[in-house]
Amino acid sequence: MAARPRAAPGRRAGGLSELTPTVADHLGDAPFGIAGTSGTPPSILARDFGWTYRGRTRPALAGLSFDVPPGHVLLVIGPSGSGKSTLARALAGLVPHELPGSWCGFLRVGDLDVAATPARVVSGRTGIVFQEPESQLVMPRVEDEVAFGLENRGWGRLAMKARVPEALELVGLAGFETRATAALSGGEQQRLAIADVLAPMPGLLVLDEPTANLDPPGMDGVFERLTGIASARARTLVIIEHRLDAALPLADLVLLLDAGGRQLAFGPPGEVCRAHAEELARLGSWVPRAWQAWTAGEPPVLKPEPAQPPAARAVLVADSVTVRYPTAAEGGDRVALAAVSLVLNAGERVALVGPNGSGKSTLLFALGGLRRPSSGTVRVAERGGPPDRDPARLPGRSLAHVLGLVFQNPELGFVESTCAGEVAASLPVLGRPADASDPDVVRALRDFGLEALAGEDPFRLSEGEQRRLGIAAASVIGPSILLVDEPTFALDRRGAEAVVAQLDRLRTGGQAQLLATHDPRLIPACDRVVALDRGRAIFDGTAAEFLAHPPFRPAGPWRG
């Protein structure tokens, strides 16, 4: 069963004619044999299906009625909080059997009534892949990881020995059997997670935002494999995905949900897009380029403030920063950053891009004085002075004036039990009491669209809200340099626009911003782009130059 490489990216970049439901049919022979499944793939049938989690008054899903024929690809679209993941869990039998709540209506996968069938039986038919690779991989070694699901289902040893390499080959990880799962890149880990669920040959494959945590190359790899799996027509696929540019070409059918978990539309992609472009825009969903031709809507680029001529006053100078991490057995080390030099000017926004593991976070840590470089120097300017201070030696409060850093997981930074308190916790740095009713706190909450949540516990917010809260808390201090790891991650279009608008306001005040990001929407909103690859700076130039000649791949999703 040879998996031939396919020119999948070309397909995604293709024109409108390829976005029809039958697209997979004329792409030539299936790359994988039917051997990959047990029998016919199941259909999905929902009739007025709904679900309410225990302790919630509002249903997570309500009134879903749709049919997916065997072997078809269903794309589920909706804003955050629309119950997409709940639908995925129901298709895998986790709802209602592993999570408490109340069920209504009818949902069938093949000939199984999900509500009346034990989870074990449903999960035997359905493979589900979650967002985060790191919290779904169980075993330390790759082949053990793939075998884990087979062992659980009582496969014989010889059958497992034969199936594990097959499943790895399906996702392009042939030969990875004895590698350590922790040492794989994010994209490889997510492909491994797909191999895990493909191994027991489920008829239905459910992917819950499988590329949300991946960099563009990792995301490409996953979609390339999904294209192959979809065109083989040997499995029914349900894909939940924000990045519609990549996912839409795969879909035969689209299910559109609204913020209340109700079904807004169901049908072939072209039809749904034509009929519901306005709702989509109102929902704040990210409208991909491919839709413009249908909807003649606004071009979906985050509108940047007209970039001011950056004042050539350097506020941060990094000179040949090298960071080595000691590694395991041989007492050797790994170079995470190799002689990276970087200058940030006041009022300048720089995007820091590069694949997972290219050293972006390490650079942010080094610039923030949190990790001492093995060699090289980092200097920052204090109170409009020359850039001659070592951030690692600045006392806490002075440092907070100079540098703000928002982590990828904002939850880790939370210190208070309400959102207002959380923002107010930044005030003592300015020499003011941490008063939640301070006008600056109220304004920051309003600016980031969080005023309705002022009294909520930060830990109960959605991921996108937590991200906005994290940036809001940092913005109150207004440090002269702001470092943000993935500012628009997990944000839909409206949330991303709100964040960029606030970053614009801070930049107008002379703040220098360095944004580590995988989000191509953000690039045009930046003055400069610095690209890292395996710890080296391989590009430092204007955003326009970067978009014209992306250093990673000619037709990659950076062009968005």
Partner: protein, 262 residues
């Protein structure tokens, strides 16, 4: 980014890496039992020598990294040993034979033997844990426990999954501290510091529970909660080598006891 020390693992195949983990566990437990129960330093002495010998010849571990790994326990052994020697009721016994005396310090032979016993026992514990656990990866240990000792697989492989989360939590802990420093949040006074530590721990706990929940859901979705018989991908068999290691290990324990009896 790794904030935890790299695991100490075998770098070449060796006798001990080839036997089943449960075999090493049985021998290890026997050695520990004998070392702790027997009076006097002779028994743990013999076992410590045998342990160092096995470590050098049979473990396949990178020897240059062993001292670093054993240093904390080694220091503890020395410290406890010294403490036992110096602060010992026997030192005040006028009838006891004096081994050393310097000024007011009077160390009896009884105290010296007691200190040596304590230190050597701790050394045996450290060596045995290294020989029993570091010589195979955790996966093989879990496999062996499930297959040979019928340990419930939910427990064994659930622990394995939890082990994967530990380095992530270590990274979280560091991140929580650094975010706070960058936000200029500096607790004042002892109470403030204790409170800040508690809140930091709380955030870590929230993060740990989230990760564990997601992991559990992913595992259940892959059939981990099933009650059907589980397949075996990595059989761990017991062979003549295990019998030999078991016999040799128990023989060493008996020999140590015999030496101690004299």
């Amino acid at each position: 980014m790794s904030f935890l020390p790299a695991p100490l693992e075998p770098i070449r195949p060796a006798l001990l890496t080839r036997v089943a983990p449960v075999t090493r566990l049985v021998v290890g437990i026997a050695w520990l039992g004998v070392a702790v129960v027997a009076a006097g330093p002779a028994v743990p002495m013999v076992l410590a020598v045998a342990g160092v010998g096995s470590l050098v010849l049979l473990s396949g571990l990178p020897l240059q990294r062993v001292p670093g790994r054993l240093a904390p326990l080694g220091l503890a052994a020395l410290g406890l040993g010294l403490l036992t020697v110096l602060v010992n009721p026997a030192n005040g016994d006028p009838a006891a034979r004096v081994a050393m005396a310097a000024g007011p310090l009077r160390v009896t032979e009884t105290a010296l033997w007691a200190g040596a016993t304590i230190a050597l026992r701790l050394a045996v514990i450290a060596l045995v844990s290294l020989l029993a656990f570091a010589t195979s990866d955790p996966t093989r240990l879990a496999d062996s426990l499930v297959q040979q000792w019928r340990v419930p697989y939910r427990f064994a492989y659930g622990t394995l999954a939890a082990l994967r989360i530990v380095p992530l939590l270590a990274a979280d802990w560091t991140a929580i501290g650094t975010v706070r420093r960058l936000r200029g949040i500096e607790p004042r006074g002892v109470l403030g510091r204790v409170g800040a530590f508690g809140r930091r721990l709380m955030v870590l706990l929230v993060s740990a529970v989230r990760r564990a929940e997601r992991m559990a859901l992913a595992m259940d979705a892959r059939g981990f909660d099933g009650d059907q018989p589980r397949g075996v991908f990595r059989p761990v068999s017991l062979g003549w080598l295990d019998a030999a290691v078991l016999a040799a290990g128990l023989a060493i324990a008996m020999a140590a006891l015999a030496v101690g009896m004299r």
